[in-house]
Amino acid sequence: MLITLLPQHQEIDLPGRQRVADVLRQLGLLPGTVMVIRGDELVTERDFLEADDRVEIRSVISGGS
């Protein structure tokens, strides 16, 4: 599966069919800090991503000061 991390615009290729929670763990991302977007839909951490999926993982954390 091809993953695009935003806002970094970084692309990562991961092999095989995997559960979203496992993908996040591999990328060092905590649930609740990103949205996982496949096509025009969100997927939950319990859903599976297929080997040929293209996925956007978008950070939801903002703020400064």
């Binding site: 935003l6 609740g32 977007i37 954390i61 400064g64």
Partner: protein
């Protein structure tokens, strides 16, 4: 995973509520959360005009969208901060959002304000941190525009994560005067203060981002370039680790502070503000922080000619 309400396929899992929602039911859930906060905390009524501070980010645009959808009377206020491409994109997205929905938006380009108040140029002229200058300028314009235009209420998109991070910072440094004032509703203590409200104070930034995504809101994805290494982001990271291990930690931290912690600090609140000798806005000194900043920028840009020997 199935939607808790209608059992369709869920797109979002809210761990701290132990609930999951499909797209349609999530909109209902989200708006009920916002309405509950507005009503329970007596933030404003449908008869009041609300000035919504909009940056172009997900939280403020989601807030404006939700309030409009729920039938509240709103006007947007956007400060064009003068932080390079980041501000240019933010202004473009905010103006596009308002235009697309036919909403009234007031935009203040800070660079056009005397003596030129774009944040990066102000920070450069004064050697202040950009975030400190930004905070001072934002607070002044939110208050001033609300007072000039007759708004009784200013709403901001601060969310649960912002409030939890702020609370953690205040607790770690035992800033008792700040703890006394941390609230989803700030009641005016000066005739030129509006009521400041945070309708998203119980809603996580994951939830506001999901709402913005489902509503097709085109918000700024990039972070302010000045936020890299910001203390607030360190606090958010710590809180997110706790939340991942113990869902509900952030909500309990903020809710229980407001219920039992904050009253204990009520006596620590600072005295009501006086009036700034220079601009007439509220001030805790003779001259307000904004006027002192403007004076410093003016002085540094136009230094007095060196007095030579008589």
């Amino acid at each position: 995973m199935k939607c808790t309400r209608c059992h369709a396929r869920a797109e979002v899992h809210i761990r701290h509520h132990n609930s999951a929602f499909c797209r349609g039911c999530y909109g209902t859930y989200f708006q009920r959360q916002v309405e509950r906060a507005i009503h329970k905390e007596h933030m404003f009524t449908p008869d009041e005009d609300v000035l919504v501070a909009v940056s172009g980010g997900k939280d403020s645009l989601a807030l404006w969208d939700a309030l409009v959808t729920m039938g509240y009377r709103t006007t947007g206020l956007h400060l064009a901060l003068g932080i390079g491409d980041y501000s240019a994109i933010s202004t473009r997205k905010t103006e596009h959002f308002a235009r697309e929905r036919g909403l009234r938006l007031l935009t203040v380009p800070l660079e056009d304000e005397t003596p030129g108040l774009g944040i990066m140029r102000v920070a450069g002229a004064t050697n202040r941190k950009a975030c400190a200058a930004c905070g001072t300028v934002k607070r002044h314009y939110f208050d001033r525009i609300a007072a000039e235009q007759g708004f009784q209420v200013v709403a901001t998109g601060h969310n649960l994560d912002d409030e939890a991070a702020r609370l953690l910072g205040n607790v770690l440094h035992w800033q008792s005067d700040h703890l006394a004032k941390q609230s989803p509703v700030l009641v005016p203590t000066h005739e030129k203060f509006a009521r400041k409200v945070k309708p998203f104070f119980r809603i996580s930034e994951y939830e506001t981002a999901v709402y913005a995504f489902f509503r097709g809101i085109d918000y700024v994805l990039d972070e302010c370039p000045n936020s890299a290494g910001a203390t607030q982001l360190v606090y958010k990271d710590v809180l997110n680790r706790l939340e991942a291990a113990m869902p509900g930690t952030k909500l309990t931290f903020v809710q229980e502070f407001l219920r039992t912690g904050r009253p204990a600090f009520a006596g620590e609140a600072s005295s009501p503000p006086q009036t700034c000798e220079s601009c007439g806005m509220p001030s805790y000194n003779g001259t307000c922080g904004f006027c002192r900043l403007v004076a410093e920028v003016t002085r540094r840009r136009n230094p007095l000619p060196h007095a030579g020997p008589a």
